[in-house]
Symmetry: C2
Subunit: 288 residues, 2 copies
């Protein structure tokens, strides 16, 4: 018998669709029902075998679901939680795919009411320049990290079952507090995205942008790859993790002030030492 009889996903794009495909491939889900704001995406998800059917009524689907995944942009989660809260079954577990956690946890406390213990927050770390149901892959999470940020209210069993779902998708699961999570990702993910968007936005303002881009090469290509990410999603992430991101951005601007000074003063030693320290750390780093 599959681990989960019925799974409901809100958002059948890259994150939600890949979750569903992976659990179906592992025979861990008997039935997958999809909700979403885009009818076209949902119909595509049915055609691609991501979901069995399109949900019509949250009240009817949430009560007997074993597991619900919230895979919408984080900016929509509070409202969605308020809509599902009255209908959750006593055994229904809820997890999410949001890239920020403090805000999602706050939304859960505000909107899930007495059901908050059934929500085990998660952040799957999987590249997301592409989006939509067509981008979903059964092996998207294979070997990728998923971070759970369990609540004090969660039972051990609830955490274990949500962990198991992500592990069945192939993920390597770890746990942090929501605050730890957000501080970490402001530094290693959200700030780099902001910086990459900023560079390309600056170029886009210029009359000679075509000439400039015609000489851009592999360094530019890799540095700006993440500037192709979803504007809507990254607006939400930036807002959701605003405090930690403002700290990181302020810190980085000080770093640039320092480099500007070193360059203006022709302080070659400081420049080289900065580059050397960076290269040592970066060369010693292995993606895990």
């Amino acid at each position: 018998m599959p681990l989960f009889r019925k799974i409901v996903i809100f958002g059948a794009g890259l994150i939600g669709g890949s979750f569903a495909l992976a659990l179906r491939k592992a025979n861990a889900a008997s039935e997958v029902v999809g909700f979403g704001r885009s009818e076209a995406t949902l119909q595509q998800a049915v055609q691609l075998g991501i979901i069995d059917r399109i949900g019509q009524d949250i009240a009817a689907e949430a009560g007997d679901a074993d597991l619900i995944l919230l895979a919408t942009p984080v900016g929509q989660m509070a409202e969605l939680m308020a809509r599902i809260a009255p209908h959750l079954g006593a055994h229904t577990l809820v997890t999410d795919g949001g890239s920020t956690k403090s805000d999602v946890v706050a939304a859960a406390r505000a909107n899930l009411g007495g059901r908050v213990a059934q929500f085990v927050p998660a952040h799957p770390i999987a590249g997301a320049e592409k989006s939509g149901a067509g981008a979903a892959l059964a092996d998207l999470y294979q070997g990728k990290k998923v971070i759970l940020t369990p609540l004090p209210e969660n039972t051990k069993d609830a955490v274990a079952r949500v962990r198991q779902a992500w592990e069945i998708c192939g993920a390597v699961v770890s746990e942090l507090t929501p605050q730890q999570h957000d501080a970490v990702f402001a530094a290693v993910s959200h700030l780099p995205h902001l910086l990459s968007f900023a560079l390309v936005h600056d170029l886009a303002q210029r009359d000679n942008r075509d000439l400039l881009l015609s000489f851009a090469a592999s360094g530019f290509r890799d540095f700006t790859r993440i500037a192709s990410s979803s504007p809507e999603m990254w607006r939400d992430i930036c807002m959701a993790n605003r405090d930690a991101l403002l700290d990181e951005l302020g810190r980085y601007m000080e770093e640039l002030e320092s480099l500007h000074e070193a360059l203006a003063e022709a302080d070659t030693e400081r420049l080289e030492q900065t580059f050397r320290t960076a290269r040592e750390l970066r060369s010693g780093w292995k993606e895990q």
Copy 2:
């Protein structure tokens, strides 16, 4: 008969070594002589078939060379030009592999004296995170851009022959003025390198850097790939193109001030519009 009887390269690492390997593979060079600061690199270059022999005496080698490539860090070029100038044959052409051009041209004017017309500056755009003779590849320049920044003193024939040498290496050759070149590369290459070094340097200062790095993923990986570049080379490039780079850095810091303000004011529209403009430009860009 090969196009060039004798080629002399100063610096037998990635840039110089790949140039020599490509010309030899195309039977365009009868003999390649190498000079360099590292005896070990030169010996390795002999073993790898990059050069035929290690040069001992510039006076003896420069006079009958058809083509000399200066493939040292740009910071060493002025001194090197002063050393070769008295010994250049009347037919000897000189080109270089430096990533900046205004400074190299200034060095040539100051140090090559009456031989400056024989110098046709070049910038091969080939990824350079790796370095050393062991990294040299016969096809490094295949399909890559090389930009010539000819001097008013150059004859058409001199420019044509240097262009031919780079084209034999497989490069797509174009021409800019030295000032155009440096403004373009400050924007699309030098600034991104500085920003990538800065991000990793900032992380390196922190007590929790190991935790942070353990959650870094593909976005971080690509954004910081260029922070593995040579500290010595990038110190030289930053210094050589200091004025244009300071302009770019100042402009970028204003861009970050603006984003900081948008974030602090929760101006979601401005954030999203910035990201959207960036994504449109980046998604429409194709590496040429």
